[in-house]
Structure formats: structure tokens, C-alpha cells
């Protein structure tokens, strides 16, 4: 093998990308050629030098942020992995007919147990029925004084093609509404005195949010006036994938 051929394939040899036959031929040549051997030594020296460079460790926020994103993504869609899958791995599959037969057997068993249990319960409770009056507690009622409104704020993220919807809930009680009505009346009478208060109230009561788009260096942003609104305890995201909406 000539030096010129070796030089063309020396990097592949250095990167262990050459096949076994080529490797042995190059190695054979290198034993008797100090020039080509020197070139290989240069490549090795460069690699050694490169590996001396270090990089700073990332902050803990990287892992934390990803775990949060993972939990957020699977908040509603996460399924409980069956114990038999955890124990035996995901490769185990149960044949459909066997699964159906097992389900039928289990269903029959549950029905039989219910019938037997019900008869026993009726017998044991028959004496006590006259003495104890069963009363179903009324469902918890929502206070009529609180009115909830849901506002959607759409924040398009161009890179991801994801539209995030944050739900803001405005809570008002009737007293505030009454005040609004009063202030609206007073606005008509003396707009100068109550001007600022009225404008705030109108913003809160206005069903249409004021939104404005802005293209900045880092992407597209939407500014929204959210005065009078506060975020719900659970922030929901709405992701649009190829035109299909997925509530998250």
C-alpha cells in the first residue's frame, strides 16, 4: 500500500471506521513508514487535546423542568401500568380470546358474589330498617353569590406550532356587580370623578379581552390585558396538533 492511499484512509483508520482487511493493510504500512505513522500520531494528539476541554455543568433547572414537563404531559393521559407489565416487561401480550374468556369468568364471579352478598345484607338489615332512616346528604351546592367566568388566552408559539390556552377565571360576587351597575350610573352622571374606576370595571366585565400581537427578536408574543382576572388553581393547556385539539 502506498503512502498516498494510506493518507486518504488514515482518518477512517483513526476513527475505527475502516473494515478489518483495510485496517490490517494500513497497520502493516504504518509499521514501516515513519511519515504516515507521524500523521496518525498527529490525529491522536489532536483528539487528546480536544478531550482536555471541559464544559460547565448544566443547572439543576434542566432536569427539574423536564420532569415537570413530563408530569404535565401525562397528567391526564397517564395510565396505570399493570403490575404484570412492570414485573415481566412490556413484551408480554395476552391473546384476545384468552383475555375475553377471563373477563367473562370474572364478570360471572362478581355477579354471583353480588347476589349472595345482597341477600345476606337484606336479611341482616331487615330488622334495622324500621329503626334507622337512611338519608342521602344533599350535594354540595355552589354558592349563588359567586359567578365564574372562563376566559381563554391564546398564546401561539411559532416554533412548536403549539397553541397554549391558559384558563383564567374571574370571580365576582353580586355585590361587586351591583357596584358596577352603580358606578355605571355614576359615570353617566359624573364621568370625571369616577373615570378610572369605571374603566377598570369595564375591562373586568368586558367579555372580549384586549389582545395585541408583537414580533420580537426571540419570537412572537401576545400581550393580553388580564386585569380583573386571576388564574385558576389548575392551569390547563390546549395543544393543537395538525388541526386536532388535545385538551391537556
Amino acid at each position: 500500500m502506498k503512502c498516498q492511499e494510506v493518507r486518504l484512509r488514515l482518518e477512517a483508520f483513526h476513527d475505527r471506521a475502516a473494515d478489518a482487511e483495510l485496517n490490517s493493510r494500513i497497520a502493516e504500512h504504518l509499521e514501516g513508514c515513519s511519515s504516515c505513522d507521524g500523521a496518525l500520531a498527529q490525529l491522536r494528539a489532536l483528539r487528546t487535546l480536544l478531550l482536555k476541554s471541559s464544559i460547565p455543568a448544566p443547572s439543576a433547572a434542566l432536569a427539574r423542568g423536564l420532569m415537570e414537563a413530563f408530569h404535565q404531559e401525562h397528567k391526564q393521559t397517564a395510565k396505570t401500568i399493570p403490575w404484570w407489565r412492570k414485573a415481566f416487561g412490556s413484551s408480554i401480550t395476552v391473546p384476545a380470546p384468552a383475555l375475553a374468556a377471563a373477563m367473562i369468568v370474572i364478570a360471572i364471579g362478581i355477579a354471583a358474589a353480588n347476589i349472595i352478598g345482597r341477600n345476606a345484607a337484606i336479611a341482616s338489615l331487615s330488622d334495622a330498617t324500621s329503626a334507622v332512616s337512611t338519608s342521602v346528604p344533599p350535594p354540595p351546592s355552589i354558592s349563588p353569590e359567586i359567578i365564574e367566568r372562563t376566559k381563554f388566552v391564546e398564546v401561539p408559539v411559532v416554533e412548536e406550532r403549539v397553541v397554549t390556552k391558559v384558563i383564567y377565571v374571574e370571580r365576582e360576587n353580586k355585590n361587586i356587580q351591583t357596584e358596577k351597575l352603580k358606578s355605571s350610573d355614576s359615570k353617566q352622571k359624573s364621568p370625571n370623578n369616577k373615570g378610572r374606576e369605571n374603566s377598570e370595571m369595564q375591562t373586568a366585565a368586558n367579555p372580549d379581552l384586549k389582545m395585541s400581537g408583537e414580533v420580537a427578536e426571540n419570537g412572537y408574543f401576545t400581550r393580553t390585558d388580564l386585569s380583573g382576572f386571576r388564574p385558576e388553581s389548575v392551569i390547563k393547556a390546549k395543544i393543537i396538533r395538525e388541526g386536532k385539539n388535545d385538551e391537556k
Partner: protein
């Protein structure tokens, strides 16, 4: 091309929300993905953002990973590469394979304060980082993927979406340039080297 680590990958479990499955993959690959992003951008917050985005794709779309097309490392690096190039383009950098250094993206490598004992090593490391950062983007990425991430030519070609021969050519040019820049720091068989033989 798959490694023994690939056996541990279970994207089905990730799709089902299995935290352990995701943590396992994250622990295997985060360092290499972050290393690739940092060496490409030279900026820690950007590298963290890129790493975050790469794993976020895995969280949201685990089925996009096809083992028959390449390793998980290849998949994550390809996603990270898209994020990095998007980052470059957003800043108006030109991405080409030009030999002209002026047209390439030169990133600033942040320096850190270190103990005096490690001053020389740190200086050398900074010099190496600077030299790598001055390479044209397309040459830099193949060099990083080969020398630091230890991907094969085929895997690098899969990440950058090009031919193996193109990868080899870019790698060759990157090494030639680096050898010239770092010649005063290179030691070959106990002697200082000032020029790459065969260049």
C-alpha cells in the same frame, strides 16, 4: 447502529407516562446531548434550552423515535441540531460550509474563574473551545459529534441528514483547521508540533 444501552429504551412506557422509563433515558443521554449543544452554541443557557427541547420532543412524541432508523442518541442529536440551527438562524447567522472563517458562526465561549492550580489546564481548555467555536458550523458539528460524542460516520450522517462522504470531508477539513490553530499546544511523541503533516 444500536448500543447495549438501546436495550433499556422503552418508548411505549414513556408514552404511557412511566416516569422511571423516561428518567432512565434521560440519565443515559442528557450529558451527551447537552455537551453537543454547548459545544455548538458556546452558551450554557442556550445549551440547556436545546437539551430541554430535544427531550421535550421525546416526551410529547415518543413514537417519532424508530430504532430501525438509528440510535436514540442519533434521534436526540438530530432534534437538538434542529433547535441549534433554529437558534443560529434567529440570530441571523449564515450556516454554510465555507472555508472563510468570517462567514461562520463564531460563538463566545464563556470563561470561568478557576483555582490557580488549574490555570494552565483551563487556559488550554479555553483555547481548544475557542478554536472549535471558530470552525464553520457544518464542520464544527461533525467534529463534535465524532470527537466528543463518539458517533460513527453513519450516525453523524443520519444526524446531519447528509452523505457519509460529505461527513468525512467536513471532518477532514475541521481537523486540518484545528491542527493548524492548536499546533503550538499539540505534543506528538514528546515533541511540540507546529504543522499537520500531509496538510
Amino acid at each position: 447502529m444500536t448500543s447495549p444501552k438501546e436495550d433499556l429504551i422503552d418508548t411505549d412506557s414513556i408514552a404511557e407516562g412511566d416516569t422511571q422509563a423516561f428518567t432512565k433515558i434521560y440519565n443515559i443521554y442528557w450529558e451527551r446531548v447537552y455537551g453537543f449543544a454547548y459545544r455548538m452554541t458556546g452558551d450554557q443557557p442556550t445549551a440547556e434550552d436545546v437539551t430541554h427541547e430535544a427531550f421535550l420532543v421525546l416526551i410529547r412524541h415518543p413514537k417519532r423515535y424508530h430504532p430501525e432508523r438509528g440510535s436514540m442518541m442519533t434521534f436526540l442529536c438530530a432534534v437538538a441540531r434542529n433547535c441549534i440551527f433554529h437558534h443560529f438562524r434567529r440570530r441571523g447567522y449564515e450556516i454554510d460550509d465555507a472555508f472563510d472563517e468570517q462567514s461562520s458562526v463564531s460563538t463566545f465561549i464563556a470563561t470561568e474563574k478557576n483555582p490557580l492550580n488549574y490555570l494552565l489546564e483551563r487556559e488550554l481548555a479555553e483555547k481548544v473551545n475557542e478554536s472549535v467555536a471558530l470552525l464553520p458550523v457544518l464542520q464544527r458539528e461533525v467534529l463534535i459529534l465524532r470527537e466528543f460524542q463518539e458517533l460513527s460516520y453513519e450516525e453523524i450522517a443520519a444526524v446531519v441528514g447528509g452523505e457519509v462522504n460529505v461527513v468525512k470531508a467536513r471532518l477532514y477539513r475541521a481537523r486540518q483547521t484545528l491542527a493548524k490553530r492548536l499546533a503550538p499546544y499539540m505534543t506528538v511523541k514528546g515533541e511540540r508540533c507546529y504543522e499537520m503533516p500531509g496538510s
